[in-house]
């Protein structure tokens, strides 16, 4: 069902956990639907320097969470905002059709974290 890549990220998810001094936090999904992703980001000079996640969800949800932390690291905020669900799915060598919404979730969580960061910046300035 899942690609080797998905199973690799599922088995050894990268960047699990929380960032105690995060610059932005995004949370999407809801427990009713069976998946929640929470993402912490650290931003330095407009570049995402670090990320952590916690996910309640299926194998695809965990793998896409892990994958997005790898893809986004080192990207500028603008670049990171343009990471699409398809890009994440491709990076994982594809997802089963019924699981495509999981890659959506990851992209949305990242956007939410960046929005949170921007909101905090604008209220601080």
């Amino acid at each position: 069902m899942y690609s080797e890549k998905v199973m690799d990220h599922f088995r050894n998810p990268r960047n699990v956990g929380e960032l105690s001094q995060a610059d932005g936090i995004g949370e999407v999904g809801n427990a009713r639907c069976g998946d929640i992703m929470k993402l912490w980001i650290k931003v330095e000079n407009g570049v995402i320097s670090d990320l952590r996640f916690k996910t309640f969800g299926c194998g695809a949800a965990i793998a896409t969470s892990s994958m997005i932390t790898e893809i986004a690291k080192g990207k500028t905020l603008d670049e990171a905002e343009n990471i699409t669900d398809n890009l994440i799915a491709e990076a994982l060598d594809g997802l089963p059709p019924l699981k495509m919404h999981c890659s959506n979730l990851a992209a949305d969580a990242l956007k939410a974290a960046i929005a949170d960061y921007r909101l905090k910046q604008s209220s601080a300035s």
């Binding site: 009713r32 639907c33 998946d35």
Partner: protein
């Protein structure tokens, strides 16, 4: 690597001795049972013998047994077939909130086609109160369908008591015995049923064959029209090898049932005892009215599919009522009907034991699960350690 199969409610391996009984009917005795010559007559004899075997185990007459292509087909034939044939008497059907989709969707197809349906709720253990059935009966009630035991949480229903009052009322009573055939004693008179469905692959028989008991005198509109096979109740060249397999598997199961049930119940209780030591764990279903081979729990804060994948990585095959295993967003309607929240229902785990399951399998599983649950919780935004 260790490979432990704990999903016997999903399907079971064909018993090699059952395969032996089937083998002659593939390439040698391959005749069409409707043919007059030797090959046909020998096929017919095998068919008749198999029907006799099944009938005897169910306490029924041979002509009351209809072989089908699956458990689902047996259920669809029972429900749609009886409802259609009874429609002049009334159009009201009673069922429960925890039926398998094969029954649930058949009833809802009938609803779409002009029937009225009452869906009875269950209690927090998944039990139906016979009195609730009684109150639901109306003068135009023609059919009641209550599953014998639930496939997810293992709860056994008081079928005999429900059947008595349904039959007294003059309606037909169907039970989906797909999960109980081969495990519980099935006697159609003791159970007070008019229709009873089963599927061979749940009791170490082949896939692709099921059976429906139809009490003498109960008329059914066929689901599959055509030839006069199965006394006009299910057209199509008979799957002799499959039917022989169904009968011999049921026969073996009936002979071993009592001893094996006790053995399974002991293993089941050992599993429950171990799983209950994991914090935030709930048992689903009844502890008393329960299939001897069913263990169902919910682990809070985690999601079922990721649990299953982790179990699979450690060689354990299990199942979950998680939405994500079925690709839908809604978790199991059964767990929701028991009153669980969506959030908790997503974290369900079902372990169903079988003939090959040993105590050391149970211990292996009990050794792996706590660690997996812990790891997933550590990763869960819902969990605060």
């Amino acid at each position: 690597m260790t490979q432990i199969y704990m999903d016997h409610a999903a399907t079971t391996p064909l018993r090699p001795e059952v395969l032996e009984t089937m083998l002659p009917y593939f390439s040698e005795e391959f005749g069409n049972a409707s043919s007059v010559y030797g090959w046909g007559r020998r096929a017919r004899q095998a068919l008749d013998r198999s029907r006799d075997t099944v009938a005897e185990i169910l306490g029924a007459q041979a002509e009351e047994i209809v072989f089908t292509g699956s458990g689902s087909e047996a259920i669809n034939l029972a429900l749609k077939g009886a409802a259609k044939a009874q429609q002049k008497k009334g159009r009201h059907i009673v069922t429960t909130a925890i039926e398998h989709h094969a029954a649930y969707d058949s009833v809802f197809w009938l609803k779409k086609n002009g029937y009225e349906v009452t869906v009875l709720p269950v209690d927090s253990e998944g039990r139906i109160n016979p009195e609730a059935v009684r109150s639901a009966l109306r003068p135009d009630t023609i059919l009641v369908s209550v599953m014998h035991a639930n496939n997810e949480v293992g709860t056994i229903q008081p079928i005999s008591a429900i059947g008595a009052l349904v039959q007294e009322h003059g309606a037909l009573f169907h039970t989906d015995a797909v999960q109980t055939a081969g495990i519980l004693k099935l006697n159609v008179d003791e159970l007070n049923v008019d229709l009873l469905s089963l599927a061979a692959h749940k009791f170490y028989g082949p896939k692709g064959v099921g059976a429906l008991y139809v009490r003498k005198g109960v008329r059914l509109e066929p689901l599959v029209h055509g030839g006069f096979q199965e006394r006009g109740r299910r057209a199509g060249t008979e799957n002799i090898a499959g039917i022989v397999g169904l009968a011999s598997a049921l026969d073996l199961a009936a002979a071993e049932r009592e001893l094996e049930s006790r053995r399974l119940a002991r293993l089941r209780d050992r599993l429950f005892a171990g799983l209950q030591e994991i914090p935030f764990t709930r048992i689903n279903g009844s502890r008393v009215h329960r299939l001897p081979n069913n263990v169902s729990v919910c682990f809070e804060f985690i999601e079922g599919e990721s649990l299953l994948l982790n179990l699979d990585l450690r060689g354990i095959a299990a199942s979950s009522g998680s939405a994500c295993t079925s690709g839908s967003l809604e978790p199991s309607h059964v767990l929701l009907a028991l009153g669980l929240s969506h959030e908790i229902a997503h974290g369900s785990l079902r372990l169903t034991l079988g003939r090959e399951t040993t105590e050391s399998d149970v211990d292996y599983v009990l050794g792996e699960i706590p660690e997996i649950v812990h790891r997933l919780r550590e990763m869960s935004p819902l969990y605060q350690a």
